[in-house]
Subunit: 341 residues, 2 copies
Amino acid sequence: MRTEIATLGEFGLIEHLTEGIEHQNASTVYGVGDDAAVLSYPAPKQVLVTTDILLEGVHFDLTYVPLKHLGYKAAVVNFSDIYAMNGVPRQITVTLGISKRFSVEDMEQLYAGIRLACEAYGVDIVGGDTTSSLTGLTISITCVGEADADKVVYRNGAKENDLICVSGDLGAAYMGLQLLEREKSALRGNTDVQPDFSGKEYLLERQLKPEARKDIIQKLTEAGIKPTAMMDISDGLSSELMHICKQSNAGCRVYEEHIPIDYQTAVMAEEFNMNLTTCALNGGEDYELLFTVPLSLHEQVQDIEGIRLIGHITKPELGCALITRDGQEFELKAQGWNPLK
Amino acid sequence: MRTEIATLGEFGLIEHLTEGIEHQNASTVYGVGDDAAVLSYPAPKQVLVTTDILLEGVHFDLTYVPLKHLGYKAAVVNFSDIYAMNGVPRQITVTLGISKRFSVEDMEQLYAGIRLACEAYGVDIVGGDTTSSLTGLTISITCVGEADADKVVYRNGAKENDLICVSGDLGAAYMGLQLLEREKSALRGNTDVQPDFSGKEYLLERQLKPEARKDIIQKLTEAGIKPTAMMDISDGLSSELMHICKQSNAGCRVYEEHIPIDYQTAVMAEEFNMNLTTCALNGGEDYELLFTVPLSLHEQVQDIEGIRLIGHITKPELGCALITRDGQEFELKAQGWNPLK
């Protein structure tokens, strides 16, 4: 079934897609349907605002990304940015540019994913803008969150001797993308065959349905640990480490042997004849948390499941380097995702 | 001079464009450069959030819209939404999708316009996202503002017998667009000739460099007037009136003879052989304020320069209608800008 979007128009479509949305947060005073959403964040809360745009052909390929997954991911990557400030996401606005290729049913799928993510993370959809586009699909989401003023963690607070930690494992989302791209090439024009992804489900899930590390933020809070610097890994570990070091005026040493990598990622890298460490350092889209804590918290951090210590912060003049398994030192380079290169 | 954007990359470009930005608002705690911006809105302030997207080919045509003007307008239309809540805009995030056609110098122009608007309205640029696009330019701006909790004006508060007011005049931005489109057709392929716009400057300014009615909000506040309902006129008076009436569960009567129209708008409508009232009702992009006040405030509102009373709110069963100069009643229809029709 295909209903043309023009039959509903802008306001009809928004009404249809946001029907039955119930707000989950006390800070949401008024949502969709006016010139602006109205939120309430009394002190000592601070308001966090982040925004991300996804463009068809640049950030996603609808030949293998289901619209529902895309909606889920578009929301989650914004939540991830709020968690990376040590905050809690509360509201999003959803802005869509839609070409004629898409039907009302397509947008229902996309919104189903966005709404699922919002339910999973306790976030309210409070507004947005919907318009036509000449080519493809554009999704721009802005997320508002909150944090106590003294709990916000920036990128610029890493100090010499701080420990560098990451959550989860790295490189799997990138290998998932490689896998999907390979199957797309292999199956070009052949729509009868279904690709066989068995044994590689984790890689696909990491690429198509990433999660934000709400659990890690909760565990850190429960353990009374406030990182000195934090960000989420969207462009790749190397690139993000360099951001933290630049903004903290510091250097770092990261140990290859400590970088957490899943078994499936290693198998795929072997299959693709790719360097595994390079994939983990530069793959991107992991949406894991990268953070630093004072050396004195070594044991407390190590006790938290899902967190790995991968290195330490140094004086700035030592630069950013990877120590390989055989003890060699290589300068880190940000070879990750750069949408403008 | 043309510098390829790839020479700077995403972070280099953002750094370059946001260089030297100084925050003007106490509520801006931390701006560009982290996972999220950090804002502080202690009670009794409420936080207002609005977002707008502009897509090349749908919302603007760079053959006659200078990039600096486009940047200015993209920011101002968001401020207008915050004023329409009876609030004050404080921060924006700027998200750009940029195709290879554009150079660093182009983005400097665009940002110069955004920054000019921010200076004029006292708004801080606190973040955003910058990426490549396959086709054309995408600009998505989210604006955060504030209002005392008891001062926020929604669209849904209009009551029977309330007076309907508009600021400024209507239809000029639409006539400016018609004029630019005509010259574009006339000059196609002929780049030596400069079109003669003398005597039509107001129309062009309304289209290319609209302003948000900060002054009207200030005057209303000074006069102690809180509208019962308010919104800004972006899609056209008819469409916006119908929004207010629908959300307030009311009807309305608007008098053709009271709709404010500038002399230049009238001359151009004549020249284009267009119905002047239709242009004023459905033109769109005026960014004037449409609001309702209790009948008892009749004299106070009438005394404010730049505000015109154009009609009144009725019971819902009377519907929304225009009373023409000769006393006939026509049902209002939203024929204005609908990006999805």
